[in-house]
C-alpha cells in the first residue's frame, strides 16, 4: 500500500518539477529576495529586518501561489484529461491516490522552500556580512511557512476533488485570505451578538488560522519563538491538514468520473 502512495507522490513531484511555470515563480521569489537587498541598502540600520521580512514574505507568498496553482489541478486535471482511468483501473485505492498527490505536492513545496531559503540566507549574508545567533529563528519561520503550505495544499486538493480548477482557485485563495485575518475574525466573533456571534465563531473554527502561523515579523525582530508554541502550532496544522484530507478522500471515494 505505502509503496503505491510513494510512487504517486514521486510522479506528482516529477510533474511539478517539469512544469515550467514553477521555475518562473521560483525566479520571481528569488528576485524578491534580491530586491530586499536593494531596499535594505536604503534603510540604514534595519537592513537585516528588511531582508528577513521581505525575503520570508516572498517565500511564503510564492509558495502559497505554487500550492494553489498546482494543487487545484491535482485531481481535476486528471479527471478532465482522463489520465486517472488507467491509474484507478490498477490496484490503487482512491484514498491512496489522494494521499500520493498530497505528499507529492508537499514534497515539491518543501524543496522549493529550501531553494528559496538559500536565496534569503544569501541575501542576509550579503547585508550582514556574517550570520548571527538570531538568524537561526529564520529556520523556525521557514518551518511555520511549510506548515502553512501543508494546510493550503490540503485545501486546494479538497476543492480539486469536486470542483473545476477556476472555482477551486477562487475558493482556496479566498480561504487563504480569510485565514490570514483569522485573528481579526476571532475578535469580531467576541464582539458580535446573537446569530452573528454563532456564525462568526463557527467560521473561526472552520477557517484555517494562517495568522497564528505567521511568525515572520517576530523572527525579523529577532524575537524567540517558544517551544510550546511550535509544538501546539504543529499539532494544529497537522490536525487541520489531516481533517481536510479526510474530507477530500470522502468526496473522491464517491465521485463518478466522467
Amino acid at each position: 500500500m505505502s509503496t503505491r502512495i510513494v510512487h504517486i507522490a514521486s510522479n506528482t513531484f516529477r510533474e511539478a518539477v517539469r512544469d515550467r511555470v514553477l521555475y518562473n515563480l521560483i525566479a520571481f521569489a528569488l528576485l524578491m529576495s534580491g530586491a530586499a537587498v536593494l531596499v535594505g541598502q536604503i534603510s540604514i540600520g534595519i537592513e537585516r529586518l528588511v531582508v528577513v521580512n521581505l525575503g520570508l514574505t516572498a517565500v511564503s507568498l510564492f509558495g502559497v501561489v505554487i500550492a494553489i496553482f498546482i494543487g487545484i489541478g491535482l485531481v481535476s486535471k486528471e479527471i478532465e484529461k482522463r489520465t486517472l482511468y488507467t491509474v484507478l483501473s490498477r490496484p490503487v485505492r482512491r484514498w491512496e491516490f489522494i494521499a500520493g498527490k498530497f505528499f507529492g505536492l508537499a514534497g515539491t513545496l518543501v524543496v522549493n522552500t529550501a531553494f528559496m531559503a538559500v536565496g534569503v540566507f544569501a541575501a542576509l549574508l550579503y547585508v550582514s556580512r556574517a550570520f548571527h545567533r538570531a538568524d537561526a529563528w529564520i529556520l523556525v519561520a521557514l518551518y511555520f511557512i511549510v506548515l502553512q503550505f501543508l494546510m493550503i495544499t490540503a485545501i486546494a486538493l479538497l476543492f480539486s476533488s469536486f470542483s473545476s480548477p477556476l472555482l477551486s482557485a477562487v475558493f482556496a485563495f479566498s480561504l487563504f485570505v480569510v485565514g490570514s485575518f483569522a485573528e481579526d475574525l476571532r475578535g469580531f466573533a467576541a464582539l458580535a451578538r446573537g446569530v452573528s456571534h454563532w456564525l462568526a465563531t463557527g467560521a473561526v473554527y472552520l477557517v484555517p488560522n494562517f495568522a497564528s502561523l505567521n511568525v515572520i515579523s517576530s523572527v525579523a525582530h529577532e524575537q524567540p519563538i517558544a517551544k510550546q508554541f511550535v509544538v501546539s502550532s504543529s499539532l494544529y496544522a497537522l490536525l487541520y491538514t489531516g481533517m481536510v484530507l479526510c474530507g477530500a478522500v470522502l468526496i473522491f471515494e464517491r465521485r463518478n468520473l466522467k
Binding site: T3, H7, S89, P91, L257
Partner: protein, 295 residues
C-alpha cells in the same frame, strides 16, 4: 467460473439543476464471458458500451446490480492486479516519456522491481514503439498514444483485458498489429473484452459478441449464430434468360447476367423454388446460403 460475470449492472444519471431528471445510460445488464474468450461488445455511439466498461473498472458507481471479474467484486484491488484496461482515446501524462510512463504503471501494478525494465522493453517492442521509448508523450501521434495505451494494458501480464475501441486512431498497419496482439493474447489463454464500431474486426476476432443499443442488450452469441438468426436467405444461380413467373413471389431480388439468372430467396422458400425450377427443366448451377453481416 466465468472470467466476467455481469449481474444486472445498471446506471442511471441524475441531470438538471435539482438532479430530478433521470437519464438511463445502462439498463440492467446480464452477461457472462468465459475465460479465454475474445468477446466483442458492439453498439452505436451512446449505446452504453463505455458506461459498461467504466462500471467494470470502478470509475463510476452502479445504480444497481453487481459484477465480478475472476470471481472477485469489481472494487476489489486484488482483482485489479489481474486486469488491464485501455480507455477510449487514451490520454497519458504528456511530460513523461513512454519508458517513464510504463515504469510508473508497472510500479502501480505491483510488478517486481527486477522485472520492470524487462517488461517495459518487451511490451514496447510488441506494440512497435521501441524507437520512441525516450520521446516525451506530448510528441506522440494519436496512433502512437493508442499503442502506448495497449502497452500499459498488457504490461503486467493480466488475465483479463478490457479494450474500449482499441483500433481507434490507428492506420491499417497499426490495426493489423492490434489484431495480431489480440490473437496472441487469445493464444496465451487471456480473456479479451473489447468494444468496437468496426464490425469486420468483431466478426474476424470474436468468439462471441453482445450487441447493445440505447442502454439495452439486444443479443448475445457467436457471430455465426447471430447473423443466421437475423435473416436466412439462399442465392440460386441457373442457366436462363428471365425469372420464371412461378418464382417471382418467392424472390426478394434477382439479377440477369448474360445467360445466367441469379435470385435471392428466403430460406423458408428454398424447397419450393428448387421444385419450381426442376419442374421447368432448368439447369441449376449453384445454391449458396447468403450470410448476413452483423451490420
Amino acid at each position: 467460473m466465468s472470467a466476467i460475470e455481469i449481474l444486472g449492472l445498471e446506471k442511471t444519471y441524475s441531470a438538471g439543476l435539482w438532479r430530478k431528471r433521470q437519464r438511463c445510460a445502462l439498463r440492467p445488464l446480464h452477461l457472462n464471458v468465459e475465460a479465454g474468450e475474445v468477446f466483442g461488445f458492439l453498439g452505436p455511439n451512446g449505446a452504453g458500451k463505455t458506461t459498461t466498461l467504466k462500471l467494470l473498472m470502478g470509475l463510476v458507481f452502479p445504480s444497481g446490480g453487481s459484477a465480478r471479474i475472476l470471481g472477485r467484486e469489481i472494487h476489489d484491488p486484488r482483482m485489479k492486479a489481474q486486469i488491464g484496461f485501455l480507455p477510449e482515446q487514451p490520454y497519458f501524462y504528456d511530460y513523461l516519456t513512454a519508458n517513464e510512463l510504463l515504469e510508473y504503471y508497472a510500479q502501480l501494478s505491483g510488478v517486481a522491481t527486477q522485472e520492470r525494465r524487462r517488461r517495459v522493453i518487451e511490451v514496447l517492442g510488441r506494440v512497435g514503439l521501441e524507437d520512441a521509448a525516450r520521446l516525451p508523450l506530448r510528441k506522440f501521434s494519436k496512433g502512437m498514444l493508442q499503442r502506448v495505451g495497449i502497452a500499459q494494458a498488457i504490461l503486467h501480464d493480466p488475465k483479463v483485458l478490457f479494450f474500449d475501441e482499441p483500433m481507434s486512431g490507428l492506420d491499417p498497419i497499426g490495426r493489423r498489429q492490434v489484431r495480431d496482439i489480440i490473437v496472441e493474447l487469445k493464444a496465451l489463454g487471456k480473456t479479451v473484452f473489447f468494444s468496437t464500431h468496426i464490425l469486420s474486426d468483431a466478426e474476424s476476432l470474436c468468439d462471441r459478441v453482445a450487441i447493445i443499443d440505447m442502454g439495452e442488450l439486444r443479443g448475445v452469441g457467436a457471430v455465426a449464430d447471430l447473423t443466421a438468426t437475423v435473416e436466412g436467405k439462399v442465392e440460386i444461380i441457373w442457366h436462363g434468360s428471365s425469372l420464371p413467373a412461378s418464382l417471382q413471389a418467392l424472390t426478394s431480388e434477382s439479377h440477369l447476367s448474360g445467360d445466367l439468372v441469379r435470385a435471392v430467396i428466403r430460406e423458408a422458400n428454398q424447397d419450393a423454388a428448387i421444385d419450381a425450377l426442376r419442374h421447368l427443366g432448368v439447369r441449376i448451377l449453384s445454391i449458396t446460403p447468403v450470410r448476413t453481416s452483423l451490420e
